[in-house]
């Protein structure tokens, strides 16, 4: 059981930043929690004795974070897992939503474009969060940066679809059977990866993002109503799912 320690806002912020920094540096979850627990205890006892946070971590939080990070091994397994989850998540989401809308057809430019987006997005997320955790405590700057990072894949997707309309590259069309086979393989991959990574996050996210659209399409509702309802169900569902996850994590 974890009891909350009395900590100043400044120390709390530092602890959160350190957690993000170590996580985006690819360190192991258990080890991060370990060192964070120790530091929390230290900071809380130091504060009780009237010491400032500078006395504990020095003048530069960034230098201190780096120092801690250097002593921790990179957890390539978890890193690889997260990257696989992101890439396959994005691809299977694309395949499923296309499949529910009809048969599949992809151009060479689309396929390479999507791959490039996945790679860029992963790099930006890890670098970006690491950077955000070390800059000054201004929440506005942080908010803007996070907004830009989350908007990036959307912009890149739009860019790729625009380019795809402008430049024609060899395109593979799948007929009904072909589409079903691709869909089946993707489904197997998603299930396989979920079992391997021991998480249901991928399946639930994909279901929440694709199924409402599909089922609402079958109803006689107006197009606008469908759009709004599908967004509400998707994002509401994801919010509830994340809430349940964090509740479960806390009760551990």
């Amino acid at each position: 059981m974890k009891r909350e320690l009395p900590l100043s806002k400044k120390s709390q912020n530092f602890i959160e930043d350190l957690r993000i920094y170590l996580f985006s540096s690819g360190k192991q979850w258990d080890e991060i929690e370990d060192v964070i627990n120790e530091l929390e205890i230290h900071l809380s006892e130091a504060e009780k004795n009237g010491k400032s946070i500078e006395k504990i971590i020095g003048k530069s939080p960034k230098d201190y974070m780096e120092m801690v990070s250097n002593e921790m091994p990179i957890d390539y397994r978890t890193l690889f897992k997260s990257i696989c989850l992101i890439i396959f998540g994005a691809f299977s989401f694309k395949v499923f939503s296309d499949l529910l809308a009809g048969t599949l057809s992809y151009s060479l430019l689309e396929v390479t474009g999507y791959l490039a987006i996945a790679v860029i997005f992963i790099a930006v997320v890890f670098k970006g969060f690491k950077y955000i955790s070390t800059i000054s405590q201004s929440n506005i700057i942080r908010g803007v940066l996070i907004f830009v990072i989350s908007l990036l894949p959307l912009l890149l997707f739009l860019g790729v679809s625009y380019l795809d309309k402008m430049i024609s590259t060899p395109t593979i069309h799948f007929d009904n059977i072909g589409s079903f086979i691709i869909g089946g393989i993707t489904l197997l991959f998603v299930i396989g990866i979920s079992i391997w990574a021991k998480t249901g996050v991928l399946i639930i996210m994909i279901a929440l993002l694709t199924l409402p659209d599909y089922f609402l399409n079958l109803t006689a509702l107006q197009y606008e109503t469908q759009l709004i309802l599908s967004m509400l169900i998707s994002f509401g569902g994801i919010a509830i799912y994340l809430l349940i996850l964090s509740k479960l994590e806390k009760s551990k």
């Binding site: 627990n37 530091l39 205890i41 809380s44 020095g58 120092m67 801690v68 250097n70 002593e71």
Partner: protein, 117 residues
């Protein structure tokens, strides 16, 4: 050279000596160091050092309940750590006698010059 730079490598040995005395947790160690006169270093720097020493199997840790708040991580020396402490003490004693010798010579010559003028 700043004190922090000079302390590098020395704090490790001091931590080993403090842990050897009795099982301690992080904050206790920092307090002990301060009581011995190490005022200028940032207390948090002991954690990366402890992590490294644990990786090198010089120390081990166990979680123990505390009356106030969450479990504390207590550190104790391994056999390898005891050996390292012995080596550290030897190295330090050689080093400090050499440094003292240099300083002694320096003050003698400096003192001599001052006498002449």
């Amino acid at each position: 050279m700043s004190t922090t730079q000079m302390l590098k490598g020395i704090i490790d040995g001091c931590l080993l000596a403090i842990i050897k005395e009795k099982e301690v947790y992080g904050y206790e160690m920092a307090e002990k160091l301060e009581s011995y006169g190490f005022h200028s270093f940032s207390e948090g720097t002991i954690y990366p050092l402890l992590m490294r020493m644990q990786k090198e199997e010089l120390i081990t840790s166990t979680l123990k309940k505390s009356t106030a708040g969450p479990k504390r991580k207590y550190y104790s020396l391994t056999a390898k750590g005891e050996l390292e402490l012995k080596n550290f003490i030897e190295r330090w004693q050689n080093l400090q006698s050499s440094v003292n010798e240099v300083i002694r010579q320096y003050t003698i010559t400096k003192g001599g010059h001052q006498d002449e003028t």
